[in-house]
């Protein structure tokens, strides 16, 4: 850790410990001097305090402009006890979903005049959660937003955050902490129902990761899939475990291709769908002619796969905006609201779904897959 060099000056009684050779940025007193008022008045103008004469206000604003004055956030934070900074704990920040949410939170925060401090979250272990949250608290954030599938209890998280405003973006909607999320059960239903309505007898499912503590995103999608199947009295095949990665989709695809009678697959995200697609194609199994496929997320690549992938889209920007509202409400009220904002997903129909082979003997894709 760098240590400041010893003071180069001899021990002449200096009025201030600051380095005198460094030009310090203008402070509020400088603005006050130029404007010919006290620094409190400058503060009032800058904070839109009620009673300030228009003339004074103009004077101050001119001085601010002239000096290029920028308020010192640290001083303000020290005086008010607020930093106007949000702390974000983000897991798998390079994945499309988390990156999009982070982006949404950022934009919303900027509009609300808040800064965003980001810390990566390698896992949702209680210990890691505690350590990373404490990093954020040390930085003096006003609230923490978590972009991670934290366990529903989130005991560790609440404890770590102390009484600080807290909102979770991928948690369970009936959990203990405030949260904003897309209805994951609806995601699963939407995908599965689309496949069922196309005429498939049943739908296989490649799941997301499911830890011992439970993942809302993963479990919710699986539950929706199960419900949609059960609703129509369809058989529920055993779910194939994945972990969001293309590789896990590929592995699941290799299993699927060996089974008889698979005509429809719902992968819990687009990356896995891509892996499934690859495994299927490798064995000469065509999508959608032989097997229909649906993913989740609508990653930018989805529309340009072969075939263009039908998927379920989530409005990440809205998640960001809503979470900012929840955070602001907590900050203003000084307490958690037990607010749960649940957003609806949207089906994006492209070309990876088609009725099952054999039901429409006249269609071209009935021609045997050669390869």
């Amino acid at each position: 850790m760098p240590r400041p060099a010893p003071d180069p000056l001899p021990s002449v009684a200096a009025p201030s410990p600051r380095r005198p050779d460094v030009v310090r940025p203008p402070a509020m007193t400088d603005v006050a001097t130029v404007a010919g008022v006290s620094h409190q008045t400058v503060s009032r103008v800058l904070n839109d305090a009620p009673s300030v004469s228009p003339r004074t206000r103009a004077l101050v604003l001119a001085a601010v402009e002239q000096l290029g004055y920028r308020p010192n956030t640290a001083a303000r934070a020290l005086a008010t006890g607020r930093s106007r900074t949000l702390g974000v704990l983000c897991m798998s920040g390079t994945l499309y979903g988390p990156a999009s949410m982070l982006s949404g939170v950022q934009a919303a925060a900027r509009e609300a005049q808040y800064g965003v401090m980001v810390v990566d979250l390698p896992s949702t272990d209680a210990e890691v959660l505690h350590q990373r949250t404490s990093l954020l608290l040390k930085q003096g954030v006003d609230a923490v937003v978590v972009i991670a599938p934290v366990p529903s209890s989130a005991e560790a998280l609440r404890a770590a955050a102390g009484g600080l405003p807290l909102v979770v973006l991928e948690g369970e909607p009936d959990g203990e902490v405030d949260g904003v999320c897309v209805d994951q059960v609806a995601v699963g239903r939407l995908a599965t129902e689309h496949l069922v309505q196309a005429g498939h007898r049943t739908v296989w499912h490649v799941t997301g990761p499911s830890g011992p503590t439970g993942h809302y995103e993963s479990d919710g999608r699986e539950a929706g899939w199960r419900q949609a199947l059960t609703d129509v009295g369809a058989e529920v095949p055993p779910p194939l475990p994945g972990d969001w990665s293309p590789r896990s989709g590929y592995d699941a695809g290799q299993l699927l291709v060996r089974m008889a009678g698979v005509t429809a697959v719902f992968a819990a995200n687009d990356q896995m769908a891509l892996g499934v697609l690859r495994a299927l194609r490798e064995r000469g199994c065509r999508v959608p002619e032989d097997v229909s496929l649906v993913g989740v997320d609508d990653i930018p690549e989805a529309a340009y796969l072969s075939p263009p992938l039908t998927t379920v889209r989530q409005d990440f920007a809205a998640v960001g905006r809503e979470s900012m509202q929840v955070v602001l409400a907590q900050i203003e009220s000084g307490a958690r609201q037990r607010a749960r904002v649940v957003l609806a997903p949207e089906l994006v129909v492209r070309r990876s779904v088609v009725p099952p082979l054999g039901d429409h003997p006249g269609r071209s894709w009935v021609q045997a897959s050669v390869r």
Copy 2:
């Protein structure tokens, strides 16, 4: 903007304007009281100052532990003039490259005990650059790192950052500001030479975006491609303009498929390569049998395309680490270093490149593409 409620207490002479009903977190003086020392001594212990007796140190540490004391960053920042916070300006944060770099910077910053404040950058216009940088300065960051293809001059950026440490992660290595980047010319060469060595007479290129100010990533890759072709006396076909998106790759692919004699394509990133792949396949043109293809980035999807995509990988984590070093050096020296760290890219060979059709008549892929 929320305004604090008026003081609920009658005008009893209160020693402090703080709300007395709120439990305030322990401050350094509290620790001092418990440890039976002065708060300066506590400060010394916490900052690893040289001369503190082991006994005192232990006493203080115990008190810190007991109270769950956490230093107040705002107060420290105010006193030292340093916030131990990095400001990051990030463009296209949902793309794999920028997201990975951001992630790398974060990890490196965390290890160096720095916080990271992120602001999105919608464009590299002088005005936007100024506005967003000013947001960061207002938050009191110690340095700004820019994840964006800023123009080489970066005049606006340097002006906006004032004298603050500044490092650009996707800028030109011979620009005016400090920077860390992967050698983009080498990226272009690597991809193109691989294709040439496989026996292709020439290589077509789908470029990244190229603004009027110039994009190092885009232009560098194109220059490398051009050089590699010129080196072997190959004809240089007109580059096809793209913008990193799968859609632009698809558009370029539609052009390519109509041209005669195209056997090899170098797309400036994997997403565009995916678009090219799609366009080619749509017209019955096989990869790699009919056309070989190379991308850049090694996105997680690359290994699971059909065929698995040969690409050029950049070590984003290293970029993050190196940039942290440069920033630290600037902070310590108090001046920019004109440091340029240039990292080498790496070719990842998979299955999208093969010798051109016709040169090896015995091979299986010579069988005419049916479809």
